[in-house]
Subunit: 224 residues, 2 copies
């Protein structure tokens, strides 16, 4: 009997290679003197900051695609650059065609083989996540998206989605986090949490550290 009934995966860090997928897209459209890694990191950090700000403002949910568009425009302004509207749209659409980490398919298949359901649990919009899921080597059983919850991670509403949808207890769900704030959110909500910590990062709140920590996704299979 499986210890967990469901394993939820963070998308933009844990399951997919964000920089490996998007830095080449950025490089292809920016002037050669702009560092595409630094540009992408600014874009990404402002997208995440805007998600947290929108949680705090309490004015209703803004779609992740919208935050992604605004954060791209911010990064362009900071670099004193302009791009045509269709080029900006293509960069935002590239978030729907990310490359999974090399071990992602094996890990998803292994989780299924051990009798657990699989799910994405992400700040992305449901429509963005459906496109990504269609391209995964192994299909997932469920998609839990921020626009279903009305809040972004690490707000508890998003970690509650699988419990409400599937009628599970917290102890029956293992969340595989991809970032320190995701770890803190899952642990604050009370989910068992494994951190695929590729960047050797640290949580800000020691009391909300992960239950398990691995350098990539493969360690997850040892928990099931």
């Amino acid at each position: 009997m499986a210890r967990y009934k469901l394993v939820t995966f963070d998308v933009y860090a844990a399951l997919f290679d964000l920089e490996g997928s998007l830095v080449p897209e950025v490089r292809a459209v920016l002037p050669p003197e702009v560092d595409p890694v630094a540009f992408f990191r600014l874009w990404r950090s402002k997208q995440l900051e805007f998600a947290l700000i929108s949680n705090s403002l309490g004015r209703g949910h803004l779609k992740f695609k919208y935050l992604t568009e605004r954060a791209l425009e911010y990064a362009l302004k900071r670099h004193n650059l302009e791009l045509p509207a269709d080029t900006r749209a293509a960069l935002v659409a590239a978030w729907n065609r990310l490359r999974p980490w090399p071990e992602a398919g094996e890990v998803l298949a292994g989780v299924k083989a051990r009798g657990c359901l699989t799910a994405l649990l992400s700040n992305g919009d449901e429509a963005m996540l459906r496109e990504l899921a269609a391209a995964l080597p192994v299909p997932v059983d469920h998609i839990f998206a921020a626009d279903q919850a009305g809040f972004y991670k690490p707000h508890p509403a998003i970690y509650e989605l699988p419990l409400k949808t599937l009628g599970l207890d917290r102890s029956e769900v293992l969340h595989v986090a991809g970032s320190a704030s995701d770890v803190m959110g899952a642990r604050s909500f009370g989910l068992p949490c494994a951190w695929s910590n590729r960047g050797r990062d640290y949580v800000l709140e020691p009391d909300l550290g992960p239950d398990f920590e691995f350098p990539d996704l493969t360690g997850v299979l040892s928990l099931l």
Copy 2:
């Protein structure tokens, strides 16, 4: 008759020179091979990120001093450094001895001379802000702190403090913001907002831009 009855000032960017005050403190205690500006910016960005995360977690208010301590420990870990507890405590205490921007005294005096009340409105704890206020060249009339509101900017609860305390309408309060997220928070709540935008930054949400924007604090006097 004054157009505004109260002018509230953001503290850690608008009224005080954070980097000019704290980078020398960091430089004095870190090994010479560590860039003190980069170290301080990581410390500051993680402090702010933690404030936003704590708003989203909804587990009750964490003091700003606590976030400052945890963010410092994070920055040390990322640099693979250790500092004695008393040195870390001295760095955190330095947040209570910041240098105001050169024009701060003149602007506070000018606001008073035009018949307006003045206040600090900040993510800092009340105790931290009281120490800073005692060292200002011109005393302020009120202190509005995040630990009074139970939330950090840009949550509406903190911008509501002066209205509840003084019985004012939104239109009677001018907020002087020091950062893009502070602008968005004040405007989302409905306060008239002037941005002392020393870093030539941009707001992420064009609909929540400032009513007035200046390269430093002196422009505020032209509004009164």
